[in-house]
Symmetry: C2
Subunit: 115 residues, 2 copies
DNA sequence: TATAATACGGACAAATTTATCCGTACTTGA
DNA sequence: TCAAGTACGGATAAATTTGTCCGTATTATA
Protein backbone atom coordinates (compact mmCIF):
# COMPACT_ATOMS: atom_id res chain seq x y z
CA UNK A 1 0.00 0.00 0.00
CA UNK A 2 1.07 3.55 -0.55
CA UNK A 3 2.43 5.42 2.41
CA UNK A 4 1.98 9.20 2.60
CA UNK A 5 5.08 11.29 2.89
CA UNK A 6 3.48 14.61 3.75
CA UNK A 7 0.62 15.14 6.19
CA UNK A 8 -2.87 15.91 4.95
CA UNK A 9 -3.91 19.47 5.59
CA UNK A 10 -7.29 20.00 7.09
CA UNK A 11 -7.00 23.48 8.51
CA UNK A 12 -10.38 24.52 7.20
CA UNK A 13 -13.69 22.79 6.79
CA UNK A 14 -13.58 22.90 3.03
CA UNK A 15 -10.33 21.02 3.11
CA UNK A 16 -12.03 18.36 5.14
CA UNK A 17 -14.70 18.12 2.50
CA UNK A 18 -12.14 17.96 -0.28
CA UNK A 19 -10.12 15.37 1.55
CA UNK A 20 -13.15 13.15 1.69
CA UNK A 21 -14.51 13.81 -1.79
CA UNK A 22 -11.33 14.09 -3.82
CA UNK A 23 -10.91 11.10 -6.03
CA UNK A 24 -11.84 10.79 -9.61
CA UNK A 25 -14.92 8.63 -9.09
CA UNK A 26 -16.03 9.29 -5.53
CA UNK A 27 -18.80 11.65 -6.45
CA UNK A 28 -20.24 9.16 -8.87
CA UNK A 29 -19.99 6.43 -6.29
CA UNK A 30 -21.74 8.39 -3.58
CA UNK A 31 -24.38 9.49 -6.02
CA UNK A 32 -25.01 5.97 -7.29
CA UNK A 33 -25.25 4.56 -3.82
CA UNK A 34 -27.63 7.33 -2.82
CA UNK A 35 -29.67 6.18 -5.81
CA UNK A 36 -29.73 2.57 -4.66
CA UNK A 37 -27.01 1.23 -6.90
CA UNK A 38 -25.00 -0.35 -4.17
CA UNK A 39 -23.33 -3.55 -5.25
CA UNK A 40 -19.76 -3.42 -6.55
CA UNK A 41 -20.60 -5.08 -9.86
CA UNK A 42 -23.54 -2.77 -10.44
CA UNK A 43 -21.44 0.27 -9.63
CA UNK A 44 -18.84 -0.97 -12.03
CA UNK A 45 -21.44 -1.31 -14.79
CA UNK A 46 -22.83 2.12 -14.01
CA UNK A 47 -19.38 3.73 -14.16
CA UNK A 48 -17.71 1.80 -16.95
CA UNK A 49 -14.93 4.32 -17.49
CA UNK A 50 -13.44 3.49 -14.14
CA UNK A 51 -11.60 0.27 -13.66
CA UNK A 52 -12.71 -2.12 -10.97
CA UNK A 53 -9.41 -1.71 -9.17
CA UNK A 54 -9.79 2.03 -8.81
CA UNK A 55 -13.44 1.89 -7.79
CA UNK A 56 -12.49 -0.62 -5.15
CA UNK A 57 -9.85 1.73 -3.80
CA UNK A 58 -12.15 4.70 -3.71
CA UNK A 59 -14.93 2.72 -2.09
CA UNK A 60 -12.50 1.64 0.56
CA UNK A 61 -11.49 5.22 1.24
CA UNK A 62 -15.10 6.31 1.48
CA UNK A 63 -15.68 3.56 4.00
CA UNK A 64 -12.57 4.56 5.94
CA UNK A 65 -13.69 8.16 5.93
CA UNK A 66 -17.04 7.22 7.40
CA UNK A 67 -19.12 8.15 4.34
CA UNK A 68 -20.13 4.64 3.37
CA UNK A 69 -20.71 1.46 5.24
CA UNK A 70 -20.14 -1.93 3.73
CA UNK A 71 -22.20 -5.00 4.36
CA UNK A 72 -20.88 -8.37 3.30
CA UNK A 73 -23.43 -11.15 3.03
CA UNK A 74 -22.08 -14.57 3.73
CA UNK A 75 -23.48 -16.23 0.64
CA UNK A 76 -22.15 -17.85 -2.48
CA UNK A 77 -21.59 -16.21 -4.88
CA UNK A 78 -20.49 -13.39 -2.64
CA UNK A 79 -22.72 -10.40 -2.17
CA UNK A 80 -21.68 -6.99 -0.93
CA UNK A 81 -23.71 -3.84 -0.51
CA UNK A 82 -22.61 -0.34 0.29
CA UNK A 83 -24.83 2.27 1.84
CA UNK A 84 -24.52 5.82 3.06
CA UNK A 85 -23.78 6.36 6.70
CA UNK A 86 -25.41 9.21 8.55
CA UNK A 87 -22.33 11.29 7.79
CA UNK A 88 -22.62 10.27 4.17
CA UNK A 89 -26.28 11.28 4.08
CA UNK A 90 -25.37 14.67 5.46
CA UNK A 91 -23.25 15.15 2.38
CA UNK A 92 -26.14 14.84 -0.03
CA UNK A 93 -27.48 18.41 0.24
CA UNK A 94 -23.94 19.72 -0.19
CA UNK A 95 -23.41 17.59 -3.23
CA UNK A 96 -26.71 18.72 -4.65
CA UNK A 97 -26.05 22.42 -4.23
CA UNK A 98 -22.53 22.08 -5.51
CA UNK A 99 -23.72 20.13 -8.52
CA UNK A 100 -26.35 22.79 -9.09
CA UNK A 101 -23.67 25.45 -9.17
CA UNK A 102 -21.85 23.43 -11.81
CA UNK A 103 -24.95 22.92 -13.91
CA UNK A 104 -26.03 26.55 -13.59
CA UNK A 105 -22.66 27.59 -14.94
CA UNK A 106 -22.00 24.70 -17.24
CA UNK A 107 -22.09 26.69 -20.44
CA UNK A 108 -19.53 29.16 -19.19
CA UNK A 109 -17.35 26.54 -17.52
CA UNK A 110 -17.21 24.20 -20.47
CA UNK A 111 -15.76 26.98 -22.54
CA UNK A 112 -13.07 27.60 -19.95
CA UNK A 113 -12.08 24.13 -18.90
CA UNK A 114 -9.57 22.82 -21.33
CA UNK A 115 -10.39 19.28 -22.26
CA UNK B 1 3.99 23.07 -19.78
CA UNK B 2 2.28 19.81 -18.98
CA UNK B 3 0.00 18.36 -21.58
CA UNK B 4 -2.96 16.24 -20.50
CA UNK B 5 -3.18 12.75 -21.87
CA UNK B 6 -6.72 11.92 -20.84
CA UNK B 7 -9.73 14.22 -21.18
CA UNK B 8 -11.23 15.89 -18.14
CA UNK B 9 -14.59 14.46 -17.21
CA UNK B 10 -17.33 16.92 -16.54
CA UNK B 11 -20.41 14.79 -16.92
CA UNK B 12 -22.03 16.17 -13.80
CA UNK B 13 -22.12 19.55 -12.16
CA UNK B 14 -20.15 18.44 -9.16
CA UNK B 15 -17.34 17.36 -11.43
CA UNK B 16 -17.33 20.84 -12.86
CA UNK B 17 -16.98 22.23 -9.36
CA UNK B 18 -14.22 19.80 -8.50
CA UNK B 19 -12.41 20.51 -11.73
CA UNK B 20 -12.32 24.18 -10.80
CA UNK B 21 -11.58 23.80 -7.10
CA UNK B 22 -9.24 20.84 -7.07
CA UNK B 23 -5.75 21.91 -6.26
CA UNK B 24 -4.05 21.88 -2.95
CA UNK B 25 -4.23 25.61 -2.30
CA UNK B 26 -7.08 26.87 -4.44
CA UNK B 27 -9.55 27.06 -1.62
CA UNK B 28 -7.16 29.11 0.46
CA UNK B 29 -6.47 31.38 -2.46
CA UNK B 30 -10.11 32.03 -3.23
CA UNK B 31 -10.85 32.58 0.41
CA UNK B 32 -7.95 35.00 0.88
CA UNK B 33 -8.90 36.98 -2.17
CA UNK B 34 -12.51 37.12 -1.02
CA UNK B 35 -11.05 38.57 2.19
CA UNK B 36 -9.12 41.24 0.37
CA UNK B 37 -5.72 39.61 0.38
CA UNK B 38 -5.10 39.92 -3.29
CA UNK B 39 -1.47 40.55 -4.10
CA UNK B 40 0.78 37.59 -4.92
CA UNK B 41 3.31 38.44 -2.22
CA UNK B 42 0.61 38.87 0.41
CA UNK B 43 -1.00 35.60 -0.58
CA UNK B 44 2.37 33.95 -0.32
CA UNK B 45 2.84 35.30 3.19
CA UNK B 46 -0.64 34.25 4.18
CA UNK B 47 -0.10 30.71 2.88
CA UNK B 48 3.52 30.06 3.77
CA UNK B 49 3.30 26.29 3.40
CA UNK B 50 2.80 26.64 -0.32
CA UNK B 51 5.70 27.58 -2.53
CA UNK B 52 5.44 30.62 -4.69
CA UNK B 53 5.75 28.46 -7.78
CA UNK B 54 2.71 26.38 -6.93
CA UNK B 55 0.57 29.32 -5.88
CA UNK B 56 1.39 30.96 -9.17
CA UNK B 57 0.25 27.87 -11.03
CA UNK B 58 -2.99 27.59 -9.14
CA UNK B 59 -3.73 31.28 -9.50
CA UNK B 60 -3.22 30.94 -13.21
CA UNK B 61 -5.66 28.05 -13.36
CA UNK B 62 -8.24 29.96 -11.36
CA UNK B 63 -7.88 32.82 -13.81
CA UNK B 64 -8.18 30.47 -16.76
CA UNK B 65 -11.26 28.90 -15.24
CA UNK B 66 -12.91 32.27 -14.90
CA UNK B 67 -12.93 32.37 -11.10
CA UNK B 68 -10.38 35.14 -10.68
CA UNK B 69 -9.37 38.11 -12.71
CA UNK B 70 -5.89 39.52 -12.65
CA UNK B 71 -5.02 43.17 -12.86
CA UNK B 72 -1.45 44.14 -13.59
CA UNK B 73 -0.52 47.71 -12.74
CA UNK B 74 2.16 49.17 -14.92
CA UNK B 75 4.36 50.45 -12.11
CA UNK B 76 7.79 49.75 -10.70
CA UNK B 77 8.15 47.71 -8.64
CA UNK B 78 5.46 45.63 -10.29
CA UNK B 79 2.05 45.37 -8.70
CA UNK B 80 -0.55 42.73 -9.38
CA UNK B 81 -3.96 42.23 -7.84
CA UNK B 82 -6.36 39.35 -8.15
CA UNK B 83 -10.07 39.62 -7.58
CA UNK B 84 -13.09 37.39 -7.80
CA UNK B 85 -15.05 37.44 -11.02
CA UNK B 86 -18.81 37.21 -10.93
CA UNK B 87 -18.46 33.47 -11.38
CA UNK B 88 -15.96 33.41 -8.55
CA UNK B 89 -18.33 35.34 -6.29
CA UNK B 90 -21.05 32.83 -7.03
CA UNK B 91 -18.79 30.21 -5.53
CA UNK B 92 -18.64 31.85 -2.12
CA UNK B 93 -21.94 30.55 -0.74
CA UNK B 94 -21.00 27.05 -1.91
CA UNK B 95 -17.63 27.30 -0.27
CA UNK B 96 -19.22 28.54 2.92
CA UNK B 97 -21.76 25.77 3.16
CA UNK B 98 -19.21 23.16 2.26
CA UNK B 99 -16.79 24.49 4.85
CA UNK B 100 -19.60 24.48 7.37
CA UNK B 101 -20.20 20.80 6.70
CA UNK B 102 -16.53 20.16 7.37
CA UNK B 103 -16.50 22.15 10.58
CA UNK B 104 -19.75 20.63 11.79
CA UNK B 105 -18.21 17.20 11.38
CA UNK B 106 -14.63 18.04 12.17
CA UNK B 107 -14.40 15.98 15.30
CA UNK B 108 -15.63 12.85 13.58
CA UNK B 109 -13.64 13.46 10.40
CA UNK B 110 -10.36 14.13 12.12
CA UNK B 111 -10.54 10.75 13.74
CA UNK B 112 -11.10 9.10 10.39
CA UNK B 113 -8.74 10.92 8.11
CA UNK B 114 -5.36 9.37 8.41
CA UNK B 115 -2.75 12.04 8.74
C1' DT C 1 -16.42 -29.32 -18.33
C1' DA C 2 -15.76 -24.83 -19.82
C1' DT C 3 -17.74 -19.94 -19.20
C1' DA C 4 -19.52 -16.26 -16.80
C1' DA C 5 -20.68 -14.01 -12.56
C1' DT C 6 -19.56 -12.72 -7.78
C1' DA C 7 -15.74 -10.21 -5.02
C1' DC C 8 -10.89 -9.14 -3.71
C1' DG C 9 -5.86 -8.07 -3.84
C1' DG C 10 -0.53 -7.73 -5.08
C1' DA C 11 2.90 -5.65 -8.04
C1' DC C 12 3.94 -2.36 -10.93
C1' DA C 13 3.43 1.35 -14.78
C1' DA C 14 1.56 5.66 -16.37
C1' DA C 15 -0.41 10.02 -15.56
C1' DT C 16 -0.83 13.97 -12.88
C1' DT C 17 0.15 17.25 -9.30
C1' DT C 18 3.20 19.51 -6.23
C1' DA C 19 7.80 20.98 -4.90
C1' DT C 20 12.66 22.39 -5.64
C1' DC C 21 16.24 24.91 -7.75
C1' DC C 22 17.71 27.64 -10.93
C1' DG C 23 17.48 32.44 -13.36
C1' DT C 24 15.37 37.21 -15.24
C1' DA C 25 14.28 42.32 -14.35
C1' DC C 26 13.59 46.56 -12.00
C1' DT C 27 13.61 49.82 -7.80
C1' DT C 28 13.97 51.54 -3.21
C1' DG C 29 16.40 52.14 1.01
C1' DA C 30 20.53 51.31 3.94
C1' DT D 1 26.89 49.27 -4.07
C1' DC D 2 24.35 45.68 -1.76
C1' DA D 3 20.32 43.62 0.23
C1' DA D 4 15.48 43.21 -0.01
C1' DG D 5 11.08 43.66 -2.22
C1' DT D 6 8.12 43.17 -6.37
C1' DA D 7 6.67 39.59 -9.99
C1' DC D 8 7.46 35.75 -13.32
C1' DG D 9 9.08 31.41 -15.62
C1' DG D 10 11.96 27.05 -17.31
C1' DA D 11 13.64 22.51 -16.18
C1' DT D 12 13.40 18.82 -13.43
C1' DA D 13 12.51 15.91 -9.19
C1' DA D 14 9.40 14.03 -5.81
C1' DA D 15 4.93 12.75 -4.32
C1' DT D 16 0.51 11.11 -5.27
C1' DT D 17 -3.26 9.18 -7.87
C1' DT D 18 -5.01 6.33 -11.37
C1' DG D 19 -4.70 2.42 -14.41
C1' DT D 20 -2.99 -2.24 -16.11
C1' DC D 21 -2.01 -6.96 -15.65
C1' DC D 22 -1.62 -10.56 -13.13
C1' DG D 23 -3.85 -14.13 -9.77
C1' DT D 24 -7.24 -16.20 -5.86
C1' DA D 25 -11.90 -18.50 -4.75
C1' DT D 26 -16.73 -20.24 -5.28
C1' DT D 27 -21.15 -21.36 -7.75
C1' DA D 28 -24.59 -21.60 -11.29
C1' DT D 29 -25.47 -22.22 -16.07
C1' DA D 30 -24.81 -23.68 -20.85
Amino acid sequence: MYERKTPVNIDCGLHLFMEVMNGKWKINLVWCIYNEIKRPSDLQRKIPNATRRVLEGQLKQLVNHGILSKKTYDVKPPKVEYSLTELGESLIPIIKSTAKWGEDNREELEKLIVK
